[in-house]
Amino acid sequence: MLRRILFWLALALVIFYFAFPLYWIVISSFKTIADVTRATPAMLPFVDFQQTLANYSSILLGTNIESETGVQAAASLGEFRERLLNSVIISGISTALAVGMGTLAAYAFSRFRIPGEGDLLFFILSTRMLPPVVVLIPIFLFFSNLGLRDSYLGLIILYTSANVPFVVWMMKGFFDEIPLEYEEAAMVDGYSRIEAVWKIVIPEAIPAMAATAVFSAIVAWNEFVLSNLLNRNYASTVPPYLNSIVGVGQVEWGRLAAAAVLFVIPIIVFTFLVRNHLLRGVTFGAVRR
C-alpha cells in the first residue's frame, strides 16, 4: 500500500515537473499585463484572474494592448505570422531533405560493402561534435559572400547538414534490423533494387523515418543562434522573434507567452500526426520479432 502511494506520489511529482512550466506559459498567455506581473501569482483562470485574448490578437493581428499603465505598442502587423511561415518552410524543407538524403545514405551503409565504412560513419558523426557557435563567424562570412544571408536556402542548407548525420545513424540502425531477404525476395520477384527499396523497404522503415523526422524537425524548429545571426529580416524564424519580444525595458510576458504557445503548437501537431509510427520507431529493434 505504502509502495503504491509512493509510486503515485513520485509520478505526480514528475508530471508536475514537466507539465507545470507548460501550464504556466499557457495561462500567462491569457493574462492581462496587470495579472501577469502580479506579485502573488494568479494560478487559476476564471478564479484568480480574468482571462483575455489581447495577447493573441496583438501577436496575430497587431492590435494595441491597453492597460492602466497606458497603451502598449503593438507588434508590427503580421510579423509573427510571417516568421511562423518562415519557420514552417525552413524546418519543413530541411527536415524532408535531411530525412530523405540521410535515409538513402543509411540504406547504402546498411546494405553495401563500403570501403572504410566505419571511418566514414565516424566522419559523418564528427561533424556534429563541433558546437555551431565555433564556426559562426566563418559561416557568416561565407554566407555574406555567397548571398545566402537572409535567405531560406541558407538556413535550409545549415539545418539539413546538421540533421543528416543524426538521420544516417538512426536509420542505419533501423535498416540493419530489417531482414535483407525482403528486398532480395522483391528483386527475385521481378523488381529492380530501387523498386524493391521503394515498395518493400521504405514502408517497413516509415515508423523509423517518422521518429527521426520528429527529432530533426524539433532541432530545426528550435534553432536560435544561426537564425538570429544570419536571417535578420526577410527569412527570419520564430525563435529570434521571441527573443525580440523580451525587448528593452519592460518584459512583455503576456505576449511572449502567447507567441511561445503559438510556436509550440505546430511541432505538437506534427508529433501528434506521426504518433502512431513514433512509438514503434523509438522502440524499433528493442523487441525481437
Partner: protein, 360 residues
C-alpha cells in the same frame, strides 16, 4: 521450365573461398538437392544462380543462355527463403500478387492466377490475412505460392523446411515432391538434412567446403559414396570407420584387433602396394551379429543398447574403436555381453586414408 547449368563457378568472400570451380547441371524438370553441412557454400550457390551474388569466375546458364550479368529480375527464377521473407505489410493475396504486378498483368488476370495457385496449395481461406497471423506451416505454403504463381524457369529453395516442426516437415516433404512432379518444374533445393535429400531428390549433389563431392541418384549416394566425407555425411547412424591395412599374401584387411578376408577381385583393385594405410567403412545395417564365433568373426563387447522400436542400435567396443550396429528388435542383449561380428565381403567401403577417396 528449364535446365540449369553451372560451369566452373567460383566465389570468395574476402579471403574465404565459398565456392571453388563448381560445375553442376540440372535437367529440365529435375528435382536436384544440394546437400552439405553448414558453411559448405550451398546458399551461396543458390544466391549466385538467383543473381543475388556475383561469382568471380564461371558461367551460369538457364536454358543454355548465360545469365551471369543479368539482374535477379531478368533471370526468371523463384527463390524460397529459409525465413520465407513474406512481405509483412502485405496480405497473403498481395504477397502472391506482387511478382505478377511486376509483369504488369491485369488485376483480373492476377486475381485468377493467385486464386488458382492458392487452391492448389489449400490456402484460399488465408488470402486476406497478414503473414504475422499465420502459423509456420501456413507461411511456408504462402512462400511456395508466391514462387509458384510466377511459373518460373527454375525454383530455388533455401532450406525451406528447416523452420517447421518435425511432423509438418515430414508432411511437406511428400507434398513438395508431389507438387514438383505435378508442375514438371525444375527444383534446385538446398538442405543440410540428409533424410530430406534422400526422400525427395531425383539426384543429390553433395557439397563440402565449396567443392562438389558427388552428384548421383540417392541410392548411389548412399551405397556408392565417392569419398569418406559423403559416406560419413549421408546415412544415419553415421557409417563406422576404422583404419586398416592390406595383407595381400593372405588376401585380407587387417585392423587393430580385427581382420576381414577379401572376396573376388577386391584385392586386385587395391593392388598398389600392400603397406598403404586405408580406412575401412561399414554401415550399421551391413554388420551381422551372432553369438557363435568362427574364423570369420570378430569379438566385441556391447557398450550401450539403443532400442529404436523396429530395430535396436548397439554400440559395440571393438579393440579401441566403437562401432554402431543395427540388429533386429528381437535380438535381446545387454551391456557387457560379448558378441561376434561378421563383415560382409560385398558390403563394405574402403577409403584412402590420405585423400579420403573411395577405393572399393
Amino acid at each position: 521450365m528449364a535446365s540449369l547449368d553451372m560451369q566452373q563457378v567460383s566465389k570468395s568472400f574476402g579471403r574465404t573461398k565459398a565456392l571453388s570451380e563448381l560445375t553442376l547441371s540440372i535437367k529440365d524438370g529435375e528435382f536436384l538437392i544440394l546437400l552439405g553441412p553448414t558453411g559448405a557454400g550451398k546458399t551461396t550457390t543458390l544466391r549466385c544462380v538467383a543473381g543475388l551474388e556475383k561469382p568471380e569466375t564461371g558461367t551460369i546458364s538457364i536454358n543454355r543462355e548465360n545469365v551471369v550479368g543479368l539482374s535477379p529480375a531478368e533471370r526468371d527464377v523463384a527463390f524460397v527463403f529459409q525465413s520465407y521473407a513474406l512481405y509483412p505489410r502485405k496480405t497473403v493475396f498481395e504477397n502472391m500478387a506482387f511478382p505478377l504486378q511486376a509483369r504488369r498483368l491485369s488485376p483480373q488476370e492476377i486475381t485468377r492466377q493467385v486464386e488458382e495457385i492458392a487452391s492448389k496449395l489449400r490456402i484460399t481461406e488465408l488470402l486476406q490475412r497478414r503473414p504475422t497471423e499465420l502459423s509456420g506451416g501456413q507461411q511456408q505454403r504462402v512462400a511456395l505460392g508466391r514462387a509458384m504463381v510466377r511459373r518460373p524457369q527454375v525454383f530455388l529453395m533455401d532450406e525451406p523446411l528447416t523452420n517447421l516442426d518435425f511432423k509438418l516437415r515430414v508432411e511437406m516433404r511428400a507434398e513438395l515432391k508431389r507438387l514438383q512432379k505435378e508442375l514438371g518444374a525444375t527444383f534446385f533445393y538446398v538442405t543440410n538434412d540428409q533424410v530430406e535429400a534422400m526422400s525427395m531428390a531425383d539426384r543429390i549433389a553433395i557439397l563440402d567446403h565449396g567443392k562438389l563431392q558427388q552428384v548421383d541418384v540417392p541410392e548411389d549416394v548412399y551405397s556408392r559414396p565417392a569419398n569418406q566425407f559423403v559416406a560419413a555425411f549421408v546415412g544415419s547412424p553415421r557409417m563406422n570407420f576404422m583404419p586398416c591395412s592390406v595383407d595381400s599374401s593372405q588376401r585380407r584387411l587387417v585392423g587393430s584387433g580385427w581382420h576381414m578376408v577379401l572376396a573376388g577381385d577386391a584385392l586386385e583393385r587395391l593392388s598398389k602396394g600392400s603397406g598403404l594405410r586405408y580406412v575401412f567403412g561399414v554401415r550399421a545395417e551391413d554388420v551381422q551379429v551372432t553369438r557363435e564365433a568362427n574364423h570369420e568373426t570378430i569379438a566385441g563387447k556391447v557398450y550401450v543398447t539403443e532400442p529404436l522400436g523396429d530395430r535396436t542400435l548397439l554400440d559395440i567396443q571393438l579393440g579401441e574403436t566403437m562401432m554402431k550396429v543395427k540388429v533386429p528388435a528381437t535380438f535381446v542383449t545387454h551391456p557387457g555381453e560379448t558378441l561376434h561380428l561378421r563383415f560382409d565381403a560385398q558390403r563394405f567401403h574402403l577409403f584412402d586414408q590420405q585423400s579420403g577417396e573411395t577405393i572399393v
